[in-house]
Amino acid sequence: MRCAIVAAVCGLLALAGCTNNPYPDADDHRKVLYSSFVEAPRTLDPAVAYTTAEHIVTANVFDTLLEYHYLRRPFELIPGLATGIPEAVTKADGSQSYRFKLRDGVMYHPDPCFTLNGQGQRARKTVAADVAFQLTRLVDPAVNSPAASTFADVLGVSEFTKRLSEMRKADPQFAALPPHVQYERAGRVAGIAVDGELDLEIVLAKPNPQILYWFAMPFTTPMPWEAVAYYDGNEGRANLGDQAVGTGPFRLATYAKQHRFTLERFADWYGHRPGSAPAPGAVFPADISPADVKAGVIDPAYAGRPMPFLERIVFTREREGIPRFNKMLQGYYDDGGIIKESFDAIIKDDQLSPEMVARGMRLDKEVEPTIFYVGFNMDDPVLGHSAGEKGRKLRQAMSIAVDVPEYLRLFLNGRGEPAQSPLPPAIFGYDKDYKNPFRQPDIARGRALLEEAGYKNGIDPATQQPLKLSFDTGNTTAQALLQYEFMVGAWRQLGLDVRVNATTYNQFQQKVRQGAYQIFQWGWIADFPDPENFLFILICENSRTKSQGANTANFCDPEFDALYREMKSLPNTDQRYQIIRRMVAILERERPWIELFHNESYTLNHAWLVNAKPMGISYPAYKYKDVKPKLRTEMRADWNTPVRWPLYLLALLIAAATWPAVRTYQRERS
C-alpha cells in the first residue's frame, strides 16, 4: 500500500516533467516576444476596437496613414502609409480639406476573402478607395463606431446617414446587402472623395486641426471591402470582429481571444519592398537621442535598419495580477508592470532594487496622458449648479479634503502625479508650477468652507444630522471598495456622511441614465496629445443627461463653453495657452471634478528585450522591438530550477507514518 502511494506521487510528478516553463522547448531560440493581456478583446474590427487589448492587435496588424515618431517627445506625427502629412486647405465657404496620397505597392495580408490574383495568391494592393470605405464605415450608424462623432463634421455625412437609414428601413433586402454595395447605392459621402488609385481628399464642414491625429489611429486604416463582405459569421466563417485583414508588419496567425493569440511577421510588408524613398514608418529612426542610449532604452546599432525584427509575438491571457507578475519575474514574459504587492521589494528609493539590477532588468517610468477624477453631478439639487454658492462651497470643501498623495501611497505605491487640473504633463496647456488651492489637502480649511456653505460641522440644518450624500459606482471588486472607503473616510473628517452605493454595472448605468447619482469616480485616457481631448469632457453639449455624451458631471458653464470654442481650432500658440489657463481657472472655482491623479506606469523590461520605449498615446508598436533569445534561455534556466527536497521529505513522512501500522499488522499475522 505504501509502495503504491509513493509510486503514484512520483509518477504524477514525473508525468508533469517538473518544470514551470509554459512554452514549448522548441521555441527557446526563436525571436519570439512573449507578452500578456488581462481582458479579452471584444472585437478586432478597427472601426470599433477601442480598448487596450484590442489595440495590441489592431495597432500592429493594421497600418495607418500617419504615425507617431517612436522616439521624439512631445509626440510628433510622421507619414505612415501616406507619402506626406497634408496641410489644411481652407476654402471660401469656411470648409477645410486635407489631401492624402498613399504609397504604391502596399499589399494586404493573404486571406481567403480575396480572389486569386495574377501571382496565384489571395491578396491585393491597397488603394485610396479602401480608406474611403473605412471612413464611410466610421459614420455608418449600424457599425456604432466611437469615432463617429469626430467624423460627423465631414461634409455630407448627415445627409448620407439619413439616406442610408431610410433605405435600410424601407427595404430589408437592401439592409441585407454587403456594406460596400449599400454605400454605393446610397450615394457617397460628399466630403470623402477618391481621386484615382492613390489620392484621397477629406473635406470638413468646419476646421478641426485635431482630425489629423485620428489618422494615426487604427480607426482610419484602409479596410478591404472583401473582408467586410466575407466575414459575416455565416457558414462557419468568422465574424469580422474575430478577424484582422490588414497591411501591417505582423499578421494575425492564431486567435483564441479568451486565451491566447499570436502575431507573425508578414513577409510582404511594404517596408520590405525596396522603393524609391525609404518609408519613415518602415525603418528604425536614425535620430536616436544620446539620453535614450545612455538609459539603455534604445540600441544605437538599429538606426536606419529595416523593420520588423521579431518573428513572432505571443500574447497569453492572464486574468490575475499575481501570476502575471510572477511569470514575468521568472522570465516567461518579456516585460510587465509591477503589482503593488511586490512594489517595495522591486523598487527602493524610487530606483530598482539591487536584486532586480543583478537580474539585468530595466525600469521605465512614464506619466501617462490620463486623468482620474471624482465627479459631481452638477444637475443634483444639493451639490450642483442649482445649489449656487452653497453648492460651490460644498464642492470646494470636499475637494480640499481628499489627500491624493496619501491615496497614491496606499494604493499605487506612490506611482502617479497628483493632478491639479484635467491636463496631464506633456499635453500643451499643462503648467508645472500651477498648484490648485483646492487640491492641497487641508481639513481645517475644508471645515471652514463647509461652514460658509451652511453645513457647520457637516450638519444639514434641515435634518439636524450629518449631510447624507451618495457615492455611486458599478465596480464591486474588493480593491475598488477599499479605495472608495478611503475617500469616504476623508469626507467623514469634515463631518459629511457619504455612503458608497456599489451596484451591478447595469444598475449603475441605469442610475446614470436617469440622472440619479451624486458623486462618481471616472478616468480618461487621451486619444491623442492635444488639450482639446481633455477639455471636451466638460462642455455642455456633451452633457450625459442631455445627450449621452462624455460629460458625466453634466457641467454647464457658458463662459467655459465659449473659451472652448475659441481654443479648439487654434494651433499651439501663447494665445491658446492663455485661453486654456482661463478655462482651468473656471474649473478651479467651480469644482465639477476633484482631480485625483495622472497615473504613472512603471514597466520592468528584461535584459534581453531591446528598443522598448514606453508610448502613452499610441499602443505598443512591436515593429521597433527585438529580443535576444540566447540570453533569455540562459537567464530563465538560471532562475527556474525546481526545488525537489520537499518531495523526498513528503515521501519519507508518509512512509514513517504508516510503517508502525504495517509492522503491527505483520506481527499479528505471524
Binding site: 499575481i322 504587492e341 517595495d344 477599499l482 472607503e485 456622511d497 451596484t503 451591478t504 444598475q507
Partner: protein, 339 residues
C-alpha cells in the same frame, strides 16, 4: 435596514433557546443533549462564543458618542463597535500583529502593541473586522436555513403524509431544482435578483431547500407506515394533530443535523460568491477576497487573510464536529447504551 438583521439575529437566538426549553421536556432530548455535551464540549463552547459575539454585534443603539464627533453621534453602534471604537482605533496603513511601528516605512503607530492581528491597508484593526464577520456568517447560515426550513417542512411533510398528487407535485419540483448544478443556479438567481444581503439569502435558500425537503419527505414516508401513526388514525385523531404531535418531533433530530451541515455549506458557498463579486458586504469571504493578493507582497502580509480564515475555519470545524457527533448519537448503532 441594519436593524432588521439585528432583530433577526436576536430572534434566531431567542428561538433556539425556546426550542431547547421545549425539547428539554422529553427524556430522549435531555439524554441526547447530555451525550453531545460529553462528546463535544470544546466544539459546543466554541459555537457558544461565536453566537455570543454575534449577539453582541446585534444589540446596537444610537448615542453616547464623544463630544464633537457628529458622525458617530447619529450612527447606531453595536456593543462590538463600542468596545473597539473603529473610528479612532485605526492606523494609517498596514501594521503587523502587536507591532509598534507601521509595516512599511517604520513610522510610530498611534496604538503601538494594541492591534492583536495587525491592521489592513486602510489601517482598520483586523480583529475588529473579523469579529464583525461573525454576525454576517450567522445571518447567512442560520437566517437562510430559517427561511427555508418551514417551507421545506411544509412541502416535504405534506408530500410524504398525504401522498399521491401532492407528492408527485413536490417530487417534481424537487427534481427540477436539484437537476440544476447548485452553484450555477445560485449565480443565475443572484444575477436576476440583484446584489444585496436579502437577495443572496433568498438565492441560497432556493438552492438549499431541496436537501431539507428530501429528508423531510423521506422520513415522513417511513413514519406514515409506523404503528403508532396507524393507531392514532384509527382513533380518529385529525391529520394536523398527527403531523404536529407525532411526525414532526420524530424528524426533528434529522432536521437539526441537516441544518448544521447546510450551515457550513452555505457559509463556504458565500466565499465563492465573494470571489465572483456577488457576495455579502462585511463577510469573511469578502475579507479573504480583499486579502488574497496580500500573500504575494514582499514582505508578506499574512494577518488579514489569517484573521478571516482562522475564524471561518474554526466555526466550520466546530459545526462539522457537532453535526458528526449528533449523527452518531441519533444512530442507535453507534450510540452507547445506558448513559
Amino acid at each position: 435596514m441594519a436593524w432588521i438583521s439585528n432583530i433577526t439575529v436576536i430572534l434566531l437566538v431567542a428561538g433556539a433557546v425556546w426550542l431547547a426549553r421545549v425539547a428539554s421536556r422529553s427524556r430522549y432530548w435531555r439524554e441526547s443533549a447530555r451525550e453531545l455535551w460529553r462528546r463535544r464540549r470544546v466544539a459546543l463552547v466554541v459555537i457558544g462564543v461565536f453566537v455570543f459575539v454575534a449577539l453582541l454585534d446585534s444589540i446596537s443603539w444610537v448615542g453616547g458618542a464623544r463630544d464633537g464627533d457628529n458622525m458617530t453621534a447619529f450612527q447606531a453602534r453595536s456593543i462590538i463597535d463600542r468596545i473597539f471604537q473603529p473610528e479612532t482605533f485605526k492606523e494609517a496603513s498596514y501594521s503587523a500583529p502587536l507591532a509598534g511601528v507601521a509595516f512599511y516605512g517604520g513610522k510610530e503607530l498611534k496604538y503601538p502593541g494594541a492591534h492583536l492581528l495587525g491592521t489592513d491597508i486602510l489601517g482598520r484593526d483586523v480583529v475588529y473586522r473579523a469579529l464583525k464577520g461573525v454576525r454576517v456568517a450567522l445571518l447567512i447560515g442560520a437566517f437562510t436555513s430559517l427561511l427555508v426550513i418551514p417551507i421545506a417542512l411544509l412541502f416535504g411533510v405534506s408530500a410524504g403524509y398525504f401522498g399521491r398528487r401532492i407528492d408527485d407535485g413536490v417530487f417534481f419540483l424537487m427534481t427540477v431544482l436539484a437537476s440544476v448544478p447548485s452553484l450555477l443556479l445560485l449565480i443565475a438567481l443572484i444575477m436576476a435578483l440583484g446584489k444585496g444581503t436579502l437577495q443572496i439569502c433568498i438565492a441560497l435558500g432556493v438552492t438549499g431547500w431541496v436537501h431539507f425537503c428530501r429528508i423531510a419527505r423521506g422520513e415522513t414516508l417511513k413514519l406514515r407506515e409506523a404503528d403508532f401513526v396507524d393507531a392514532a388514525r384509527a382513533l380518529g385523531v385529525s391529520d394536523t394533530r398527527i403531523i404536529f404531535r407525532h411526525i414532526l418531533p420524530n424528524i426533528a433530530h434529522l432536521i437539526i443535523i441537516t441544518f448544521a451541515l447546510t450551515f457550513t455549506a452555505l457559509v463556504l458557498s458565500e466565499t465563492i460568491l465573494s470571489y465572483l463579486g456577488i457576495g455579502v458586504d462585511g463577510s469573511w469571504g469578502q475579507m479573504i477576497d480583499q486579502a488574497r493578493n496580500e500573500l504575494s507582497r514582499a514582505p508578506i502580509v499574512w494577518w488579514n487573510l489569517a484573521g478571516a480564515s482562522i475564524l471561518l475555519f474554526t466555526l466550520v470545524l466546530a459545526v462539522n464536529a457537532v453535526a458528526d457527533a449528533m449523527r452518531d448519537i441519533a444512530d442507535p448503532r453507534t450510540r452507547r447504551e445506558g448513559q
